[in-house]
Symmetry: C2
Subunit: 345 residues, 2 copies
């Protein structure tokens, strides 16, 4: 690779002058400057950011840790984060942590060694333990409110027997369940054990659906923890020739693109990913630039909105509406590295 020194030798000046010339400093003679700039351009000189990073003690890079990327929820988030970061002049170092807590810690350690200016950490599993969790900013979707809104919508349509299907592995998954249950309770309904099914794979969804349909008093609506699960539910119901939404109402969560790919289009909650990503990135960059006035850790909560589509219908009964808010729980976490640190020299 070609360096400042190389250009300097060609131009017959010192490397300091070359550095100043390329930075368009007024300290170098206009003629010299022009000559050096031309020389550098035709030599294809490219700044060594590694050296510059060492000098500046900053990499203008932020680390993004995400569990996986197969679940379409995360790409949607990554896209937003990447765009916003680029707008602010930051590169992205992407790490996929997988399901494993140890792997996540490895990612974090690696990113700190790389001296990224900040880290965005998206945690998947409930109860993941992050060092100094109380000292980091957090941005979270209000999954409880989302679950509450969905349940309220179903109750409003007149549903009284509602099943829940999925695997609440997400920290937010439990919140969705909590919000959902809260709405049911407020309407005087109870969620019996047989209406709560754990399912993760396609096969489990299938057996779950069969189990629900086979009940003596089957539910009139099914709430899936994620849009992708809801899509599978709809698929299996269709296989069993159960018309949707006439004979069964189905709702999902997150409003992913696939919610409109399936037929009928899926009622779900969404719209939270974009503001989530925006807060996520803006808060971190404000921290990095120390422009954030408040030094105490921030807790930002984004409320998702109900998106009503064709997968819901009343179950041939009348309805009543209840209303109340519920408490949120954490989902996203964000921790800047450089800001809590101190150089001992």
């Amino acid at each position: 690779m070609i360096t400042l020194e190389d250009i300097a030798r060609q131009a017959g000046v010192s490397h300091s002058t070359v550095s100043r010339a390329l930075a368009d400093s007024p300290l170098v003679h206009p003629d010299t400057k022009k000559r050096i700039q031309d020389l550098a351009r035709e030599a294809g000189y490219q700044v060594n950011q590694v050296a510059r990073n060492l000098r500046f003690q900053s990499t203008r890079t932020i680390g993004l840790v995400v569990p996986e990327v197969s679940n379409p929820y995360y790409p949607k988030l990554i896209q937003q984060v990447a765009d916003l970061a680029r707008e602010s002049g930051y590169s992205l170092q992407l790490h996929l942590s997988g399901a494993d807590q140890a792997a996540e810690n490895t990612c974090l350690a690696s990113l700190r060694e790389q001296r990224v200016d900040g880290i965005l950490l998206v945690t998947a599993e409930r109860g993941r333990w992050v060092e100094d969790a109380e000292h980091i900013d957090m941005v979270m979707g209000d999954d409880a409110k989302g679950g509450y809104a969905l349940a309220q919508h179903l109750i409003g349509l007149g549903h009284r027997s509602i099943a829940i299907l999925g695997k609440p592995s997400h920290r937010g998954g439990y919140d969705r369940l909590f919000g959902f249950k809260t709405a049911l309770e407020e309407a005087g309904l109870v969620l019996s054990e047989e209406m709560q099914l754990v399912a993760n794979s396609d096969a489990e969804v299938k057996s779950g659906v069969i189990q629900l349909i086979g009940l003596t008093a089957p539910p009139t609506a099914i709430f899936a923890y994620q849009d992708s699960l809801a899509a599978l539910v709809i698929g299996h119901l269709a296989d069993m020739c159960i018309p949707i939404p006439q004979a069964m109402t189905v709702v999902g969560f997150d409003n992913l693109d696939l919610a409109t790919y399936i037929c009928p289009h899926l009622t779900t909650v969404g719209g939270h990913i974009e503001p989530l990503a925006a807060q996520f990135v803006n808060l971190l960059i404000a921290r990095i630039r120390k422009t954030h006035p408040n030094t105490s850790p921030q807790r930002v909560v984004i409320t998702p909105q109900l998106v009503v589509r064709g997968s819901c219908a009343p179950p041939r009964r009348e309805s009543s509406i209840t209303k109340k808010t519920s408490s949120p729980e954490g989902y996203y976490q964000q921790l800047p590295t450089r800001n809590t640190q101190e150089t001992s020299r």
Copy 2:
């Protein structure tokens, strides 16, 4: 941040000794080594990779440039690449180039400035021009063969009137079309203009489907350029109460997860992403490590496989089968940075 020098001062030795101690060098006295290691651990010392990278002239990072991540095809690829890279001890610097050629060049320039050890470039648009394209390795999916296989399958089922819908913006898109047309021609069929519709958005797909159904001689099968478009097609057909596959056959391309989310499950071609990513990464890392014997640019072609699912049926006629292979075209490109470079000092 805490440095070698800090530990050295605490231990009353020089920073060189600390460096060697942490590298478990036999040159330092076992007692000193133990003492230094303990000291470093409890001080929470973390190597500065920026300094190390400068010293070693290597970042153990590969750059990945992808057009976007909303299209679920790319996340699937990213996941594979990230896993393989991590296995080989490389980090990933992700850049999203968007639709724009200039943005792509910006990404490339940025990655070279960051001194990544290699770059994986995924190009989306046809005819994107990459500097020194003839000097870089390329890995490509054989989209022509995929299109050919799909057409052959439809013809084998007895379809004679087949429509194509989508936007061949991909370089591979044109190849899919080419392979598809080749198979049709071999079967003595022609693809009339009215059977070729450009559609990108949901609205365009809808009007396209309506247009096709409204023809005096509507097609009996529709080939969509991507699974996501096929999903939309199926959705709109269902809206119009046209049973699939009884009244209309639909096929897609890429075998994404959503192919099994929709109902009926989508016939498509796939299985190429995994080997594609594997070749992609392995070839690059071999180049970086200079273990690759062949110095001339490689061209690797991956052939996708037909995946038959429920979205296809015969159109109440008999069938004939034709067979022949077609020529491939480029899709993926990969260029290592460090290997063609030379230090002038």
